[in-house]
Symmetry: D3
Subunit: 237 residues, 6 copies
C-alpha cells in the first residue's frame, strides 16, 4: 500500500557514517533512505552574549538545503538574501531538541553549533537532522572530554526524531516525500533514548485528527525512535 512497498511500521534503511568532515569537531552523514543530511558540530570557546557569566553553555543549530536537493531546483537562500520561515522554524526545532538532551551547566561557557545541510531530500529532513545532529554533537563532546576541557559528561541521553502520519487513512511510520505530500495528518516526534518526550508537533494537513489517531502515531514513533537510537549507537561504536 505504501509507495515504497514498506510495511506500515517499517522505517527506511538508516545509515549513519561518522567522521565524514575533516575539519569539524564532530560530524556524520545520515541517510534515511533517499534523504541525506550532512551534520557537523563546531565548538566555539565563548557562549552567546546572553549567557556570559552564567556558567551555562549553549547548543544551537542551522539548517540548509542544497538548491538541487529537491526534485525541482529551490532558490538558494543566500542568493535570496534571507532564510525562509520554514528554514528558521526547522533550525529552531533542531536547536531546542538537542539542547533538551544536554546539561548546559556541565557543558560550561561554550557554544556548539550544529550545521545540518540537506544534500538530498525525500521527506523527513528535519527529523534526520536531529538524529544525525545528535551524533555530531556527541562526537564533539567526546573530544572535549578526551582533551579534559570538561570533566563530567553533559550529554543526558540520546535524542532522535521521526515523522509519522496518516497516509491513505492509515497510520504509517517514517513518511517519505510521496507520502508526506499527501498525508492528511503529519507529526514530528522527538524522544530521548529512554522514551521520554522532548517535542511533539502534529498538524492536520487536510483532515483533523482524533486522540485515538494521535495515540497510534505515538506508538509508531516510539518504535521508530528505538531503531534510530540503535543506529546512533552503532555509528558511535
Amino acid at each position: 500500500m505504501r509507495p515504497s512497498g514498506r510495511k506500515l511500521d517499517e522505517m527506511r534503511a538508516v545509515v549513519i557514517e561518522p567522521h565524514v568532515m575533516k575539519h569539524a569537531e564532530g560530524s556524520c552523514l545520515i541517510k534515511m533512505g533517499n534523504t541525506h543530511v550532512l551534520c557537523s558540530a563546531s565548538i566555539e570557546d565563548k557562549p552567546p552574549s546572553f549567557l556570559k557569566g552564567t556558567g551555562l553553555g549553549w547548543v544551537t543549530a542551522e539548517y540548509g538545503m542544497l538548491p538541487r536537493a529537491t526534485n525541482s531546483r529551490t532558490r538558494r537562500e543566500a542568493a535570496a538574501g534571507k532564510q525562509s520561515g520554514r528554514t528558521q522554524e526547522i533550525q529552531r526545532l533542531i536547536g531546542r531538541a538537542l539542547r533538551a538532551g544536554v546539561d548546559r551547566s556541565a557543558l560550561g561557557e561554550r557554544q556548539i553549533v550544529i550545521d545540518c545541510d540537506v544534500i538530498q531530500a525525500d521527506g523527513g529532513t528535519r527529523c534526520a537532522s536531529i538524529t544525525g545532529g545528535w551524533v555530531a554533537l556527541r562526537l564533539a563532546v567526546n573530544g572535549l572530554l578526551k582533551a579534559g576541557t570538561i570533566v563530567s559528561d553533559p550529554m543526558l541521553d540520546h535524542v532522535a526524531a521521526v515523522s509519522c502520519g496518516i497516509y491513505a487513512g492509515q497510520a504509517v511510520l517514517d513518511l517519505d516525500y510521496p507520502e508526506d505530500s499527501v498525508a492528511g495528518t503529519d507529526g514530528n516526534f522527538v524522544l530521548t533514548g529512554r522514551g521520554r518526550m522532548i517535542e511533539l508537533q502534529m498538524s492536520a494537513e487536510g483532515a483533523t485528527f482524533s486522540r485515538g489517531e494521535m495515540g497510534e502515531l505515538l506508538d509508531l514513533a516510539e518504535k521508530g525512535i528505538a531503531e534510530l537510537v540503535a543506529a546512533q549507537k552503532a555509528a558511535l561504536a
Copy 2:
C-alpha cells in the same frame, strides 16, 4: 499556587469585542486576561499566484507585536529589517490553523489575510491570535455570504487555541507569562468546535515529559477550548 491565584483548570477572563476596526471586513479585540490582540480580516479579490485557476481560495496570517507590548521594549521588526524566526513560526501556525477550518473550494479564488497584532502581552499570544483571528475571519466571510459573493458557507467549524503546561510540577490551563517563563513543559493546542485536533505542539523547556502528562494537558486543553468556543459564539451573537 498559581501566581494569579487561579485554579489549575481555570482560564483567564476571556473577552472578545467584535467590529473594533472601522476599515476591516472583519475584526475583533480579544483579551485573555492581560494579553490583548487586535485581529483583522482583509479580503483580497485574487488568490496567491500558485492557486490561480484552481478554484481554491487561501487564508493566511501575519503576526506582529507593538514594541512596548512587552515588559521591556522589544525592537520593532520593521526597523530591524526582518521578522524574527519566532514571528514567522507563529504566523505560519495561525495561518495553518485557520485554513484547517475552511473549505477552500467554497471560498473560491480569493484570499483572506488575518492580521494579529499584539497590543499587550502576558503569555499565550499565539493562541489568542488563533481564537480571535477565527472571529475576524468568520465576520469577513459573513460579509461575503450576505453580499452574495459566495453562496455556500466555507467555514467548517470553530477553531480555537489554548496553551497548557507543567508549572511547578502540575498541569495547568492557559499559562500566563509568569507561568510560561518557568514551565518545564509547554504546549499549544488548536482544536475545532467539535473537539477534533488541528495542531498540537508540545515542547520540553527544561524537563522531558511522559505520555501520561501529555494526556493530562490535553484534558485541560479540551476544557479550555470549549470555553473559548462559547466566547466566540457570544461575540458573534
Copy 3:
C-alpha cells in the same frame, strides 16, 4: 461644505486616554475623530552612544501603522523588510518635535523612546502622534521625577501638532482623510503650549500657495493647538 459637516475652524473630537498600556513607563491612546494612535514611552538607562559622557539625554520616536489601519490593507513593513520613506520621515519629525520641548541636560544621560502605532487612520496621524506622544513622554518623565531619578523637570512646555490645508479653496483646520487626499495645500504645524513654533511644513499638493494663505493656515493652527493643549492638560489631570 466639509465632508464631515464641520465648520472651517472646527477640530474633530479629541480624546486622550492615559495609562492604556500596562508595561510602558508612560502611554496614552489619542483619538482625533477616527484617527486612533497608541503612544508609549519607554525609558532606557543609557543614552545613544554619540551622547555618552556629554551629560545630555535623548528623546527619539518610532512610528508604525497596523496593516489594516487603512481603508485597503497596507503591506506590513516588517514583512517588506524595511520602513518606507514616509514612515522614516514621520518618525524623524516626531522625534525632532518632542526633543524641542525637552531640556536634555535636565533629562540626563538616558533615552526615552516614543512608539506611535496607528491603530486606525483617517488623516493627521503624524500630528496625533506628536500630541499623544507628548502625553506619554510627560507621564514617563513624571515617573522619573517621582522616583527621584531626576530632580528638575526637563519638560519645557507642551508640544502639540495639527494639520491645516486649503480644501475646496478654503482654509480648514484639522484635515481628515477625505479632505487631505484632495487638498491643494497641506501643512503640519507643531507648536508649544505658549504658541512658539517648533516645526512648520507646508506643501503644495497640486496648487502653489501665497503668503496670505500661509497666514490663514497658521491662524487656524494656533486655534487648534490651544484646544489640543487643553486636551493634554485634561488627560493629565
Copy 4:
C-alpha cells in the same frame, strides 16, 4: 559676523554649468559656494505603473552623496545596504518640489528621473539639488519638445530653493555648513519663478521661533530665489 564674511542677505556665488554629462537627456553641475551637486535628468518612455492609462506623467528624484563629499567620510549607502532616512526625506522633497512645477498631463505618460549627486558638501545640498535639478529637467523637456515627442510645454514655471535660518540671533540667507550646524532655526524654502510657494519647511533646532522670525526668513528667501531663478535663466541662455 558670518564665518564667510557674507552680509546677512548675501548668497554664496552661484554657478550652474549645463550639459556636463554626455549621456543624460539633461544635466548640470550646480555650485553654491563649496556645495557642488551634479544633476541629471533621464527620460523613461513608460510612467510608473500606478499611472498607466491615466495620460499623466511623473517626475521623481533620487539623491546621493559621494562618501568623501563631507568633512569626514560618510559610509557609502550602497555598501550599508540601504538609503538613510535623511536621504529618503530629501529625495522625496526634491521630487515633490519639481512635480509642482510640471503640468503632468502635458508631459504625457512618461517618467523623468532626476538624479542629484553631491560631489562636495558645504550646507544646503537639498536646495541646490532642487535648483539644479530643475535645470536638468528643463533641458530634458526641451529635448522632448524639439523632437516633437510632446507638443505643449509642460513646464509651468521655474522652481528653485534656498535655505535661511537664525544664526547667532540674526536671520541670514543661504546657510553654509558652519552656520547650518549651529543655527537655532533652519528653514528650506521652495518657490516658483513668480514667487508662489511650493514647499516650506521650518524647524527649531534648539530654539523655538515666532511668526515674526518666520516672516523675516521668508523675506530673505524671496530675495534669494529671485537670484537663483536669474542664474537658471543665465545657464539656459
Copy 5:
C-alpha cells in the same frame, strides 16, 4: 619541499564521481585531494528574460560553501543575509568559464544552472567547481540530446581549471590550502580540452611577478589541465 610532499608539477589525486544526486539532470562529486565539491546541473525551460526571443540559451552558476567546509566555521551566507563579494566573484567566474564552452545557439532558449557547493575545502575550490561543473553540464546536455529536445550538440569542447602559483620561490601546480595561504603569486587558469585559453587570472599576493614567471605557471597549468580533461573523460566513460 611542498607541505604535501608532492613534486612541483604534481596534481593532487583527482576523482570525479558522476550521477551522485538523484534529482539533478546532471551531477558529480569532484575531489581534488581534500577539496570536495558537489556539482549539479538544473535545466530550466525558459532562458533569462533578457534572452527571450533571441534563440540563445544561457548557462549560469551559483557557488556556496557549507559553514564547516573550512578549518574554522564560516558564517552561513543565508543567515548573514547576503552572498559575500568573494562568493559572487567566484560564481561569476564559473558561469563565464562554462558559457565559453557552449554554443548558445545550439542550446536554444533554455537555461542551465550549475550549482557548486563545497563540502570540504582545502584550496582550489573555484577551479574544482569549474572542472566538476563542466561534467554536470555535459551530463545534463547529454540528457537533452538523448530526449531529442535539442538535435546538435552545443558543447564545443572540454572546460577545466587549475590553480598554479609561486610557493617558496618556485612555480608549483595545483595549490592546496597550506600553499595557497602563503603563495606570493597565485593564478587561476581556465582552458579548453584543446588547450585554448578561456580565462586567466593572476594576482600578486605579496610579491609582484615577471613575464617569465607567468610563462612558467602557464606551462604547469597546461600540464594540469590535460590531466583534468582525462579525468573528465574517464568519469563520463
Copy 6:
C-alpha cells in the same frame, strides 16, 4: 579601423587633475577620454579590527557609478539595497592592486579608503579607478609624511592599469565602450612603474585565445602603463 579612429596601440587622452575634492586627504579626477572617475583617499586612524596589534596598515577601495554615468540609466545601488556582484568584484580588484604597491608595515596601524566614483563611463572604469586611485593614495600618504605621522615612505612604486583586447581580430590598447562591448577577448593589466605585474585578468568573451595573443596584449599593456605612469608623475609634479 577603431571606432574612435585611434591607432591599434594608441591610448585615449589621459588627464589627471589632482586636489579636486576639498575635504579628502588626497583626490583626483582622472579622465581616460570620456571615462571620468573621481578618486578620493580618506585616512582613518584605526586599521580594520583583524589587523589590531599587528603593526600593519590597510588600503581598501570602494567603487560606485552615478546612475546616469551610463548610456541608459542604471539603477542606483543604494536604492536597490545592495552592491552588484560586478561592483564588488571591481572594488576588490582596486583594493588588491593598490595594496600590492604599499609597504603596510611602513604605513602603520591605519587604514586608507580609496573611493572611486564613476561620473561618466565609456569603458575601462576599473582601470581608470586604479590609476587615479593610486594618485589619491600617493597624495594622502604625502600628507602623512609631511605631518611626520609616518617617517618612511610606504609607497613601493607606481601602480597603474589598462585594458587591452582583441577587437575585430586585432590586438588593441585601451578599449573604449564600443570596442569593449564586442571584443572577443578582454584583459585588464595592473603593473608597477618598473613593469612588474600585479594583476592580470584575461577573459574570452566569445572567442578563446592563444598564448601568442596573450603576449601581444601584454606588449600593448606595457606600452600603455608607461604612458599612464608618466601622466601620474605629471599630475603630482
